[in-house]
Symmetry: C2
């Protein structure tokens, strides 16, 4: 399999255009833990037209650090004439509860006018889904034609099928799982500790411009290590040096891969709140579904051979759970070298499967 | 393959007993970069008796954070009656140049009475090997019967065969490579940034008890993530909770794997110098051998199917380099689920191969 390095330039889109984003204020919200948020805002975007029978809505759920601008980070799958065709479907992107791109999260202001920070309650994947259901109520959509998501987005879709079996017809879940393994929890915990061990974290009470930028950037570097595969790193960087012909023998950047990771880490600190990363990773780690007995949807699972963060056996386990529940289900293992990022990059194989699944 | 969780308890031995350790003061040392250290100490230990013909010496080279006490961290392979048999061989363990367990490194005192810290020059795998050669001169050993090492220790052994082809007969190299890949460099760079982004690092000028403990502990957590395999993490921890029956829904430890990683990170800060980790990881990343044309040794390579940090293809590449140089060489891929740590844990398969190789 030849790797096209140019593909990797595209794997992280910029933040959503604020003018496209809408905010729904939904009032008080009781979390799965019992904690109550006095007011929850939900940031969302839509593309396409809702049909007169309101039966063509597709909800797109984002991964760890994504946002409501699904047509940006999943541009290969969503758009006019694309597998999730905005000429045909009414597509909804939503920022998760606990996030930091418009929806209520730890960086939001509480009723006392101060940021929640660590006063924010622990939220779950179920809470994210409940918030999305409120948005559908607001939009007048009783039942989704489909929900789609990868990684943490896939967990939300899986939870949709169990929590609201009557409100979702089809579920497309890629590069995801029904419960984090010990190693996946370990990666998340190391990212959390990177933030929490930074003295600038201050127990979560930092000013927005004085946060734990060092720890947050290292957490993101760790993320990028886990998003690609060994072969993808080799294809993209090898041992090539950054802007030099020979070693400088020092702690400045020598290799291109160092420059890439530092750049990704630094860039992330300008768009993401450290406390949000703590809350969202915890929601992922807590998530666990051992059965799809409650579900009624039809499933499409895809996974990627080179994805060592969300290995293919986890998608196979979800597929088997669907079959055991007597549901229609497909699982396709796609042989691509891009690692976990493949779910964002692959329009060809995954795209065809999604198009068929939605038709 | 059944996994014995008890094995994992053993994979990191305590620091060497100071009373066993000897220090050789070797005078000035010119590094590969041209920098000169005014005085280099080499910490070492020996076991067994040097034969009258001085032809039974085996040098054991340690990995990233190991030390001269090889009979501790490699107790499964070294000892009386063990594959590297101290009843038969004179076994030498050496702390690397740049380390912090007796040999000169960045935490050593320079001639001005202050710690080197970042005034220490960049050192290379070649420098580590040159320092070891001085020790052999001191011990009156012209030629090693063998050298043995895993991971970074394997790089030192490989370098021995090229730099001193007349001084080494056999080379046992396990779970190692001839040059770090982009992903391996990426893991090291993330560990380095974890230290350097900690405000307590202070450009490397910290007091020994006021160093970047947070960043150093996260760097070690990252290391442990890469030392085990997905299946090893699952076998050892699964999703089991730490000292509780149900979630606490907070940022304290929930899962056993979180407790394990935090413990390993914290413990590491009490035994290892943060600057040393920077220097030793740089030495690894710089290392590159594209040919064994200069070598004359006989090689034994082992690698492990579940080791994703040092994948088996890297050992195969070294084996092919040895064959291309017309040298005797074997490469055995061992199917064990322990990840990179397998090179420390496997006495059975690896042990038998080593015993045969040395006999």
């Amino acid at each position: 399999m030849q790797i096209d390095p140019a593909l990797f330039e595209e794997n992280e889109r910029t933040a959503p255009l604020a003018e496209c984003r809408q905010i729904l204020a939904t009032g008080p919200f009781q979390c799965e833990t019992g904690a109550v948020l006095e007011q929850v805002d939900i940031a969302y975007e839509t593309w396409g037209e809702l049909s007169s029978t309101r039966d063509n809505a597709i909800l797109v759920c984002h991964a760890l650090t994504g946002d409501a601008h699904a047509i940006g980070w999943w541009e290969r799958l969503i758009g006019p004439g694309k597998p999730i065709d905005t000429d045909q479907f009414f597509v909804i992107g939503v920022n998760v509860l606990g996030g930091c791109q418009g929806s209520t999260g730890p960086s939001s202001l509480a009723s006392d006018g101060r940021r929640y920070n660590l006063r924010f309650p622990i939220i779950t994947i179920g809470d994210m889904v409940e918030a999305q259901a409120r948005l559908l109520d607001h939009l007048g959509i009783d039942r989704l034609y489909a929900a789609a998501g990868g990684s943490m987005g896939g967990m939300q879709v899986l939870e949709w099928t169990c929590r609201f079996p009557n409100r979702i017809q089809k579920a497309f879940i890629t590069a995801s799982c029904a419960a984090h393994s010990a190693m996946q929890i370990g990666f998340n915990e190391t990212a959390r500790q990177s933030i929490m061990q930074d003295p600038r974290w201050h127990g979560g009470d930092y000013e927005p411009d004085q946060g734990p930028v060092g720890g947050l950037s290292v957490a993101r570097m760790l993320g990028h290590l886990s998003f690609l595969s060994d072969s993808a790193f080799t294809a993209k960087f090898g041992r090539r040096l950054q802007g030099k012909d020979q070693f400088s023998y020092g702690f400045e950047t020598e290799f291109q891969v160092e420059s890439y990771l530092r750049y990704q880490g630094d860039k992330f600190t300008k768009r993401f709140d450290a406390n949000s990363l703590l809350y969202v990773t915890k929601a992922i780690d807590y998530y666990e579904r051992a059965s799809l007995a409650a579900a009624q949807a039809e499933f499409l699972f895809t996974s990627f051979t080179s994805d060592w963060l969300y290995p293919t056996y986890q998608s196979e386990a979800m597929h088997q759970m669907a079959l055991e529940a007597g549901l229609q289900s497909q699982h396709h293992i796609i042989d691509l070298p891009y690692g976990h990022d493949a779910f964002l990059l692959d329009a060809v194989h995954q795209g065809r499967l999604v198009q068929d699944f939605l038709s």
